[in-house]
Amino acid sequence: MSNEIDFDELLSKYKSDPFDYVDVFAVHTGRVTFKVVEGEEVNAPSGEWLQVPGTQLYEINRERNPKIIAARTNGTVAKIHSELDGQFVEAGEKLLTIKHPLKKKEIIENILKEVLLLFPAPESAKYFFAMDIQSRIDKKGARAVTIDQGEEILTMSLMKRDTPVYYQGPRGVIHSIYFKQGVSVAQGEPLIGICAPEKLPIIQKIITRVKADWDTDH
């Protein structure tokens, strides 16, 4: 976590441009056909279990196996590499960018993600807290739970195979929890945000400032 946080700079950045620019890449090699055009609005997955797919963005076809890739966030197609339409692309090639309008809650989360130490998911799987950590959270709340380097903090569950996950990082409190029990987390996405105990007041100050500076939820 950075020692120097320039609140004004952070806030003015979000004030002047309250959007996320989400790049969408080719999931693997193949021939790409776009399903959207620049300026088009796209929807994120919806439904109670996010079972309703988002707007179709592109189709990628490898060895006669077509795959539709849908939007994972809502917004507007800000930029599309239309020169790639119908072309064979490599895995990871940038195809388009979605301009996603940020809500107040997302702005707070984005700022926190910049200042907290994020502990990422080692694999795409479902996660739950280790029993000891969960009972400490139940008793005192997450922000009263301090974790140390090497401590077993989570269990990763994939195809009924449970793997303990050990915390790697400096000692700190669990400030933010980014996963829900029973909901899959993609590899590399943050699971928890950790903060040194003495820096908790600074974090609280950030949240208060954002709440005060943004009148509306949007």
């Binding site: 439904g47 109670e48 279990w49 079972q51 309703v52 797919p53 694999e123 795409s124 799987a125 479902k126 569950s157 994939l158 195809m159 009924k160 195979r161 449970d162 793997t163 303990p164 050990y166 029990q181 029973g182 899959s184």
Partner: protein
């Protein structure tokens, strides 16, 4: 006196019988001898006990003791106990392990590629289902991920946990198994949903023989995972129909989950999430579900219960 004390030789003999049968299948894309070589380490060491608190805990301490003594833990070591006093299922569920059952754990030094690791649970349930069918319970089926059912009642359950030993950081997979064999008494809350081999066959089975058979099937299925990995690494297709992974093909042949109306949940007993119909199993072993609103969802974790027989 320890009742369930199969020998490594008995497991190997069972595996050889299986290899001979599989090698006789004309045109099989599976190299049975290679599968046998890949899987033969399972059951090469068997530690039988009259009672243990919990086999998984015993396995962890055995691994730690072994590596702290400067030795390597033998992959494929099997720990068995005639009874277990503190056995448990997933989450906070109890597992009842009285005399007469097959209770234990297999230690696997994790040398699988990530995709194969996801198939360990499937391979374990399949090994049990195949062994149960081989002793005459042909109606045994698999409920995703790896519950073995007979006429809708649970005959066996499995736990797969990863353990990283503290000296060198080597990762092991602990495959816990609980198979109701000759035990016929169940706690009141399980009596309607559990069944044993003795109840189904109406006679006692030879426990060490059945355990050898189960371990040989486990050896075959783990060998199959390595066999399919080798094919994949060479850039070839897997051995099943249309290039499907052979373990998935065999699992699906034993499972009755497809087409069933189910309730799904990460912990379905205490927190069921939604109802759906099972459409199939994808190439990663994930369960493809059709929700009531017509949309599909694929789950890679959690569990199901059938809403119909």
């Amino acid at each position: 006196m320890i009742e369930n004390n199969p020998t490594p030789e008995a497991v190997y003999q069972r595996l050889q019988e299986m290899l001979a049968r599989e090698a006789d299948v004309a045109g099989s894309p599976v190299d049975a001898q290679a599968v046998g070589r890949y899987g033969a380490f399972i059951g090469s060491v068997i530690n039988s006990h009259d009672s243990l608190p919990r086999a998984m805990d015993h396995a962890r301490s055995l691994i730690e003791k072994t590596v702290r003594a400067g030795s390597s833990m033998a992959s494929g070591t099997v720990i068995l106990a005639d009874t277990m006093t503190q056995s448990k299922g997933r989450f906070t569920r109890n597992w009842f392990a009285p005399p007469g059952g097959v209770w234990g754990c297999m230690i696997h030094a994790n040398t699988f590629l990530p995709q194969s690791r996801s198939f360990i649970s499937l391979a374990t349930g399949l090994a049990c289902c195949e062994a149960v069918r081989e002793v005459g319970v042909e109606q045994a089926t698999l409920r995703w991920v790896n519950d073995v059912l007979v006429d809708g009642k649970k005959l066996a359950g499995f736990l797969v946990e990863t353990y990283t030993e503290p000296v060198h950081g080597e990762e092991f997979t602990l495959v816990g198994f609980g198979i109701n064999a000759n035990n016929c008494l169940f706690p009141a809350d399980l009596v309607d949903s559990s069944v044993s081999l003795k109840q189904v066959l109406d006679e006692k089975i030879n426990l060490p023989d059945f355990t050898s058979l189960f371990l040989a099937r486990l050896a075959w299925n783990f060998g199959l995972l390595y066999h399919e990995e080798a094919k994949g690494l060479k850039g070839g297709r897997f051995s099943g129909r249309d290039g499907r992974h052979m373990l998935l093909q065999r699992w699906q042949a034993c499972s009755d989950s497809v087409g069933k109306k189910v309730v799904y949940g990460f912990d379905v007993m205490t927190a069921p999430d939604y109802q759906a119909e099972v459409l199939g199993v994808d190439d990663d072993g994930g369960l493809v579900l059709l929700l009531e609103d017509g949309y599909k969802k694929t789950e890679y974790s959690g569990e199901i219960r059938y809403l119909q027989p």
